[in-house]
């Protein structure tokens, strides 16, 4: 069997892999060059993101790894949606590398980050179950090692939680993949073969079951309720940059993977027996995540735990447009995920800039009192990130993202989801305004001392805040990327 192949489309995933190999080779030849690994890693991520730019502007189909016609199937799609997620995931990983600080990031950290980035770039573009499964695991498994890498007991505990979760998730994904192939007889995720299978009652049941099992597996990675239990433990236990990675690049990879799985359903939506079971599963995940995540976030006083629960709530918002099972819904999910990833990266970077590397102690809300006056850059970027997450102007892009996310669900007439979204939006404002309110006022003399080296964290926060400000003024820059 010959494969039609165009290397240019694969570059966003291949460049990080090449950089990873290069890092290992350089380390083997010149072990003393400590700066080489982070520099090569950063270059690899940046060039990989640059390689995905043509996919955003291109209007023609960008399919590759295709089997020969007549019934040719393509296993890779570098279209605008995938390219946007690739750019976002690679740049988010770059930001995490900067947060981990160039001087402290060892070869292992860089290699693991690059592997995870390559996996994320691959999974969003994959169109067959094999590539999809392997790249998805490539995106997530290195993160477990990153959590465990620092030898703290809590970190090991967090890593163990994440490992257990990942194993369950992996088992579900493998099972789902197998069921999918059994149902459709096709290892690629394409609409026509799913539609053919859907027409036969037995195969329809099997295909529905396959999708629900795949959804469950992905819900772990997305930290959607009820598969979220690992999130607060792992976020608080691991190093802060890794938590930022889990909240940004990993989330983008999971959303991309979910979009790939749901895309074939376009062909099924119009059929006599619609995919009700899939919609029901998505609605349950959405409503449960939005409400449970927000309510739990409302009670937290430890900021990273608060951010962890907010991740759970925002996972619900990311799932919200997907319940419509439409193209617009998938694009909306991608837009929302990118906005969320940038805002949460800014929040994590600001937290990092305020507490320094020793982040485990006193990350309480009270430590942020008067931050705006005490530390205007970290405080200002954090305030903006919180407003974007809450969806309140001047964080207009957060509000636009909420509009974008609600629209497909409302167009599809999914009222329960819309009602839950109204409740979650209001409670969400309470969550973030609670933190936002603390930033004002008098500085506390018991506030943590300003850490020494924090330029990289402030830089990440400032660049992320600049992205949020520019897209708030011109939301089309972001919304237009995916269409």
């Amino acid at each position: 069997m010959t494969l039609q192949m165009s290397w240019g489309l694969l570059l966003p995933a291949l460049i990080p892999v090449a950089a990873m190999v290069l890092v290992l080779v350089v380390d083997a030849i010149i072990p003393s060059a400590r700066l080489a690994a982070p520099v090569i890693g950063a270059l690899g991520l940046a060039v990989g993101a640059a390689a995905a730019i043509p996919g955003v502007v291109a209007s023609d189909p960008r399919l590759t790894l295709c089997t020969p016609a007549p019934d040719g199937r393509c296993m890779w799609d570098g279209g605008p949606l995938a390219s946007t997620l690739q750019i976002a995931a690679l740049l988010a990983t770059l930001a995490v590398l900067a947060l981990a600080s160039v001087h402290r990031a060892g070869v292992i950290d860089v290699v693991l980050l690059l592997a995870s980035a390559a996996g994320a770039a691959g999974v969003v573009a994959s169109r067959d179950l094999g590539t999809w499964l392997v790249t998805l695991e490539l995106a997530t498994l290195p993160v477990i090692a990153l959590v465990a890498w620092r030898d703290r007991r809590a970190a090991a505990h967090g890593a163990l939680t994440l490992l257990t979760t990942s194993l369950v998730s992996f088992a579900l994904l493998v099972l789902g993949t197998a069921l999918w192939v059994t149902a459709t007889g096709d290892p690629t995720l394409t609409g026509p073969s799913l539609a053919t299978a859907w027409a036969v009652p037995e195969q329809r049941t099997l295909a529905g079951l396959a999708t629900v099992v795949l959804l469950a597996g992905l819900a772990f990675k997305l930290s959607a309720v009820p598969f979220h239990a690992w999130t607060p433990t792992t976020f608080t236990a691991g190093p802060l940059p890794v938590s930022a990675l889990l909240a940004s690049a990993s989330k983008l990879a999971a959303v991309g993977a979910l979009i790939v799985v749901l895309a074939p359903y376009d062909a099924v939506v119009g059929m006599a027996r619609g995919p009700h079971v899939v919609v029901a599963a998505l609605v349950i995940l959405t409503v449960a995540s939005m409400l449970a995540g927000t309510v739990m976030a409302l009670r937290q006083t430890e900021v990273v735990r608060l951010l962890a629960w907010s991740t759970v709530a925002q996972a619900g918002w990311i799932l919200l447009p997907l319940t419509a099972l439409s193209v617009a819904g998938r694009q909306a999910a991608a837009v929302y995920a990118v906005v969320y990833a940038v805002a949460s990266l800014v929040a994590f970077a600001a937290v990092r800039a305020i507490h320094g590397p020793q982040v485990e102690d006193r990350r309480d809300l009270t430590a942020y009192r008067g931050l705006l006056r005490r530390d205007p850059i970290a405080g200002g970027t954090l305030a903006l990130a919180l407003l974007v997450l809450a969806g309140l102007p001047p964080g207009v892009i957060g509000l636009v993202a909420k509009v974008v996310a609600l629209r497909p669900a409302i167009a599809a007439g999914l009222w329960p989801v819309a009602v839950a979204a109204v409740v979650a939006a209001v409670l969400g404002i309470a969550v973030y305004v609670r933190w936002f309110a603390v930033l004002f006022g008098e500085a506390d003399e018991r506030a943590p001392a300003r850490p020494g080296s924090r330029r990289a964290s402030l830089g990440v926060a400032a660049v992320g805040a600049a992205v949020l400000i520019v897209t708030s003024a011109l939301p089309q820059l972001l919304v237009g990327l995916v269409t």
């Binding site: 200002g380 089309q476 919304v479």
Partner: protein, 496 residues
């Protein structure tokens, strides 16, 4: 260009004051803010006279356009907002909420928040795209929250936290419901352009129209506020600094009524007509409820807040009548309430500043003796509030009752409402006289009593005189407003 400058100047200066300009001295910040507010107001006047339109693509993929325009419905509100914007900034020379014994906020942040509220309101009144309208509507939330929570009643931090949280959460519930309504409307009608929506939405079934109208009306009713969704307002008014109260009463509440006209009434008139009786009943209950509470309320600021609920009840009743007369009444009632409530809050805020509290049970010397100017302004405001002919409040209430007596539909319910609302107007006379007796007539107190209040002078006198003048002008010559709104009101689908 003038239209964009109207809200861009206060907006940019406001944003700069809360971020980069926080370190400005009080004097510099006040001067900068005043210049911005005056430039914005001048641009607003130019925009209202020349009626320019700005229409550019903003988020093409969502079909959202950067579309601003002024018409007869929004013109009076834009002028009101711009003038109130200048007055609240000028009031910063009188009351300095940033300088307190327990809190030392920055003057620049306070003034910036005032300007940002103004910006959001102006952008909302001018927006001609449903989603742009929603985004502009949300702009006022954070700055107003800041004004209440940071610069509110300095004696009571718990009340500040409670009032500000209540304000932002209640209004967020309202605006999110409104967003759902807007999205249903926009996805089903296929356009977000407010000018094209009435025609596009006419295709929808009555059921769909009713659903959309209900969502939009409930959402906006929180902001108006309509009984029973009003419970955030008294807390917010009591706690907010004087300028914040003025902005709340004169600008923020108007966003709600303006939204009711612009969205459900104009785009889905048939659906709105179906829920109008419920709205009318809620408005009438608000009139009675507010009036009854005002008869016994001890805190003067809270009393004015409840009287706002009653006044907005008249506005809502006018809207619910579904007639052009009722709509005209609602529009002028809106403006009249804006000026009257602003005047009363400036006076009462000044009293609270002087006395430390405005508890009506405390025996104080007669206001007419110790500070005759403040006393006169208060009496005038109360008289206008109870709807005395010749003053601004008369037109809104009288014409609203007139419009609701001959409604387009549900005559029985609305006529009953008119009768009850007339009783409510009597209650207004009752509580106004009560306040006048307690505060203006006062009580004989020894000359060396500590409760002596200096009279209004300087900036405070200027602010009060402007508002007094507005109350009298609108009262004597209501055609200045009627003539602007008449043409536009005739075109509103929900009024016939």
């Amino acid at each position: 260009m003038a239209l964009i400058l109207t809200f861009l100047v206060p907006g940019v200066v406001g944003l700069w004051l809360v971020t980069g300009g926080r370190a400005l001295t009080t004097g510099a910040a006040r001067a900068v803010a005043l210049v911005a507010a005056v430039v914005g107001a001048a641009a607003a006047v130019v925009a209202v006279v020349s009626r320019p339109a700005v229409d550019r693509a903003w988020i093409p993929d969502l079909g959202v356009r950067w579309h601003f325009e002024v018409d007869g419905i929004s013109a009076p509100l834009i002028i009101l907002t711009a003038v109130i914007g200048v007055l609240v900034v000028a009031h910063a020379w009188v009351e300095q909420p940033w300088a307190g014994p327990t809190q030392t906020g920055s003057a620049a942040t306070y003034l910036g928040a005032l300007l940002l509220v103004e910006t959001g309101a102006l952008a909302t009144f001018a927006a001609r795209d449903a989603i742009l309208f929603f985004i502009a509507f949300e702009i006022v939330l954070v700055p107003m929250w800041l004004l209440i929570s940071r610069y509110g009643d300095r004696h009571n931090p718990a009340a500040r936290a409670d009032a500000s949280a209540r304000f932002i959460l209640y209004t967020a519930v309202g605006s999110t419901l409104m967003l759902v309504g807007i999205l249903v409307l926009v996805t089903q009608a296929g356009t977000a352009d407010l000018d094209a929506l009435p025609a596009a939405a006419a295709r929808l079934t009555l059921h769909q129209q009713t659903l959309i109208a209900a969502l939009l009306t409930i959402g906006l009713a929180v902001k108006v506020p309509v009984f029973p969704l009003h419970t955030w307002l008294p807390a917010a008014h009591t706690t907010a600094p004087t300028a914040g109260s003025v902005l709340l009463a004169a600008v923020l509440l108007k966003l709600g009524t303006y939204g009711l006209v612009r969205l459900p009434m104009m785009t889905v008139p048939d659906g709105f007509a179906r829920i109008a009786p419920v709205l009318a009943v809620a408005g009438v209950i608000g009139i009675l409820w507010g009036g009854l509470i005002c008869l016994v309320e001890r805190d003067l600021k809270r009393l004015i807040a409840f009287s706002s609920v009653a006044h907005m009840g008249f506005v809502v009743l006018g809207l619910a009548s579904g007639t052009t007369t009722g709509l005209q009444a609602a529009l002028i009632g809106n403006i009249a309430h804006g000026v009257i409530a602003a005047l009363l809050f400036v006076v009462v805020g000044g009293l609270k500043h002087r006395w430390g509290s405005v508890d009506l049970t405390v025996v104080r010397p007669a206001l007419r003796e110790v500070s005759p100017r403040l006393g006169f302004a208060m009496i005038l405001g109360l008289a206008a509030g109870l709807g005395l002919p010749g003053l601004a409040g008369f037109w809104g209430e009288f014409v609203a009752l007139l419009g609701a007596w001959n409604p387009a539909h549900h005559t029985g319910i609305l006529r009953t409402g008119v009768v009850i609302a007339a009783v409510g107007a009597v209650l207004a006379a009752g509580y106004s006289l009560r306040v006048a007796r307690l505060v203006w007539v006062g009580d004989a107190v020894a000359d060396d009593a500590p409760h002596r209040a200096a009279d209004a002078r300087g900036a405070e006198l200027a602010v009060i005189s402007t508002l007094v003048l507005a109350v009298v002008i609108i009262g004597v010559a209501p055609q200045v407003v009627f003539s602007v709104t008449a043409d536009a009101a005739a075109l509103v689908g929900g009024a016939r």
